[in-house]
Structure formats: structure tokens, C-alpha cells
Symmetry: C2
Subunit: 112 residues, 2 copies
Amino acid sequence: MVSEAVACCAPLGAPTLTEEEADATAGLFKALGDPARVRIVNLIASAGEAVCACEFNETLGLSQPTVSHHLKRLTDAGLLEREQRGKWAYFSLRREAVETLAAVADLKEVCC
Amino acid sequence: MVSEAVACCAPLGAPTLTEEEADATAGLFKALGDPARVRIVNLIASAGEAVCACEFNETLGLSQPTVSHHLKRLTDAGLLEREQRGKWAYFSLRREAVETLAAVADLKEVCC
């Protein structure tokens, strides 16, 4: 399920884009259309390793349920990978998602 | 105003990201977090030239007011440039926005 969400996205600059592909691409952007989720992705990218769910609420100034909600949205969108380690879940960026996101957002070849 | 919206975005993979930068970056993604807006950007990118506002409603199967709303959202986000030609407005991709979007979404250097 998760990998499909990412796999079915089509680049913004694709020659043709079906309604389904447009939905999937919009879904990926929408997952990042929130400042807290942008900061979560940024924190994980900066860390360069899996980050404990317990570390976000203090850094972001958000409650644990709010952080959990955002982590779930990002995981459902296929951007994050969740790994349970004892009591806590750890989150890392999914390589495929990172590649897809870069490809989807790249209009340079077709534009201007 | 428009160019600032794009200029103040910081890449997802930036070493540090202020709250303001996270807001701006999320705003850019949010503007693309809608299937109709993804298809509008895709149609303009595929056309390779400015597209008349009158061309979108038939292709997208949306009413003119709905199309206008989406075009305004994309223009306000700094992604599109609007040019009035007689009765109709024509829209093209803004080169700076395209470069910013690609940079913002590129996590490949910091990830995985």
C-alpha cells in the first residue's frame, strides 16, 4: 500500500497525466503542505538516521498526539518508514519516496 | 509579494529551517496539493507556452469560476505568471518557481 502511493505518482512535467496520477501526485504534495510535516521531514533529513518519535514534540513544540498524527500522515503518504524499537517508533526517510519527490517536482526539463 | 512567496522557501533538506521558512515551504507544497492544480501545472508545462485561462475548463471538466480559483491559488503561490491579453488572461510557469520547487523537494543529497 505504502509503496504504491509513491510509485503511482507522475511527474508534474509528464507529457500526459491521468486523473489517477494527478490525484496521487497531489496527495504527495498535500502530505508536505503543512509546516509541522515540513519540519519533521527536515529534522529526519538533517539527522541522517532514524529519529525516535519521542524527539519531535519538544523540538516542534507540539503535543505527542499531534506529532503522532503528522508522522502517520507522512508514513501513509509513503514518505517515511516506521520501525518499532521497544517502546518507541523510529522514523526515517524512504529512499524511493525521496527520489519520487525530486522527480515529481522537477519541471526544469520542460519549462521556461 | 509573489516572488517573495517563492524566494523565502527553504529546501526540505536545509541544515536548519526556521518556522517562517517551514511555513513558506509548506505553502508551496499546499498549492500543489490538489489534483486540479497539479493538472493545470502539467498542462502548462506540456504546452511549453502561455496557456489561455479559457482552455482549462473543458480539458479539466471544471467550471470557469473553479478554474479561476485554482489559477489564482497557483499565481498567489508564485508558481504561475499571469498576463492579460485582451479579454483573457494567459498563464505560464515562473522560471524561479520551477527552480525553487525542484530545489525544495530535493532531499537526495541529504538522504538515505
